[in-house]
Amino acid sequence: MKRVYVNEQWCLGCRLCEYYCAFANSNESDIVKALKDKKIHSNIRVETKGNINFAVSCRHCEEPLCVKGCITGALQKKDGLIVVDKDRCIHCYTCIVCCPYGAVSPSADGVIQKCELCAKISGNQPACVKGCINQAIVYEER
């Protein structure tokens, strides 16, 4: 299965991926409307330490601890993709306790949010990959 990977040596830490992600998931058609003066809740997050920068998003694990731990069944694995049924998430955050990568997080309204590889959004590449100016984030089979 194709996944999002980050090549740490190319990541500039510019955080454009966070903006593209938040925009893609905003249901808005205008990036300014979607993001201006709003707290960004992206599914991909850049981490920085000294000269090292890298973006982290859901790994879509083969054995996803978040799905196994989800107490309501809201998190599901469908054709390898880990998706959340937002109507069934009860904001307990058991998935946050389970995910070893810190890749699931509460959204503005409390429901859990995570990277779904832009599967519900048109386009053949996730928005973070398309928007990465240095091709540090790639979408490929490994």
Partner: protein, 409 residues
């Protein structure tokens, strides 16, 4: 191959999914005394509260049994396991033959003997959907509710009731609320946040009931209309014990979820787990653990040798708007951070053993992974990890492993 599973909750569903990862065509029969389609037990407090409804409580999609080719026998009580003939007897005197059997019978509410308890008309336990429905029917806006037990079940029940009744009083013998998951300081923080909502009486218990009055060991008495008993749970081991199964506090299993009886497995609240943070077997009646044990059992039942992932207690809960996450064991050496709510990291030598976090819960799973994988803290940047859980603090090798995809198997 014919698999029979006694149970229909997290462990049972985990087993079905585990079996189906290996075998597509084998027969699977689920026997459950509850008549409901598989639903999420922990949701019953949210159901009480009105934050969810019956239509959203299903633990799996409604086509789960069909998709996974299971035959659900719902509302049917399994009464006996005939080990010699390899079959399960049910309450209507029929039987179901098995090649491999999973006991995933869960736990039941423990109701202590208290003088006069029998004479209390409106008394309930709070374990399953039927309990929640009965309790809901008994509640009136004028109800004064008394809950015995300030543990996870009692507190979540209190939260669920709070908006619908006149008052909620909780009595517990422990020194603090949520004593199984919180230490003194963290419990104090939560108590202070909810004190205006609930009347919490600690270090005391009910000596006797006379009608709708509870008399406490501290001399006080409480008038109530509805009583909820939530002092603890006990594993439903009877059916397994009766057929010669080995029990300690719960069913004894190995890392493949096998019991002492050939071809019988156990998973979930009914059996013990090896808690890696205290190096002891204990009951960890927690949903993620139940699912994972069931999943492990299922794969083994289908002939794929699989060992249970390292197990530790893990809890995540919202309580009156406060988020609490905890994991592992609480050792003496701890690092406390009170800047953003409360965070205590418990360390033993070079290893993280546990944590309690209130409010700042994001990425807590990175801490869980440090515990589960027994990561040597001296090899990572623990100073940085202590401040906030971040993959940036890990060594190049660990981090690149995670991000390159070699670790997400």
């Amino acid at each position: 191959m014919k698999h029979v599973i006694i149970g229909n909750s997290a462990a049972a569903i985990g087993a079905v999914e585990g079996i189906r990862e290996i075998e597509k065509a084998s027969e699977i029969v689920l026997i459950s005394d509850e008549k409901h389609f598989t639903y999420s037990r922990p949701l019953i407090s949210y159901y009480l509260e009105g934050k969810t409804d019956r239509a959203h409580m299903h633990y799996r999609d409604y086509d789960f049994y069909e998709t996974n080719k299971c035959i659900p026998m719902l509302g049917v009580t399994a009464t006996k396991i005939d080990v010699k003939k390899k079959r399960v007897l049910t309450v209507d005197n029929s039987f179901v033959a098995y090649d491999k059997l999973l006991v995933a019978t869960g736990s039941k509410a423990f109701v202590p003997r208290i003088e006069g308890l029998d004479s209390v008309n409106e008394k309930y336990t709070f374990m399953n959907l039927d309990d929640a429905e009965s309790l809901l029917n008994a509640l009136r806006p004028t109800s004064r509710v008394l809950i015995l037990g300030a543990g996870l079940i009692g507190m979540k029940c209190a939260e669920g009731l709070y908006e619908h009744v006149s008052s909620v009083t909780i009595v517990d013998l422990a020194e603090r609320i949520l004593s199984s998951i919180l230490d003194a300081e963290s419990a104090q923080i939560i108590s202070e946040r909810i004190t205006s909502k609930l009347n919490i009486l600690l270090k005391t218990s009910v000596t006797r009931f006379v009608g709708n009055t509870a008399y406490l060991t501290n001399g006080a008495s409480i008038e109530f209309d509805v009583l909820v008993v939530a002092v603890g749970v006990r594993p439903n081991t009877a059916i397994f014990e009766d057929c010669g199964g080995k029990i300690a506090k719960g069913i004894i299993v190995n890392s493949k979820q096998e019991t002492n009886i050939k071809d019988i497995y156990a998973a979930g609240d009914v059996c013990e787990s090896y808690d890696m943070t205290i190096s002891q077997n204990r009951i960890l009646a927690l949903l993620p653990n139940a699912y994972m044990q069931g999943h492990t059992a299922g794969k083994n039942m289908a002939g794929c040798e699989t060992e249970m992932i390292a197990t530790l207690p893990m809890n995540a809960m919202g309580l009156f708007g406060t988020h609490i996450v905890t994991a592992g064991a609480y050792t003496e050496q701890k690092f406390i951070d009170r800047k953003n709510g409360y965070k205590s990291l418990f360390v033993d030598g070079d290893k993280l053993k546990g944590y309690i976090i209130i409010d700042g819960i994001e990425k807590a799973g990175i801490y869980t992974a440090l515990i589960r994988e027994s990561v040597a803290l001296s090899k990572e940047d623990f100073e940085l990890i202590r401040v906030s859980p971040t993959l940036a603090a890990f060594s190049d090798a660990y981090r690149k492993g995670v991000l390159s995809g070699s670790k997400n198997k």
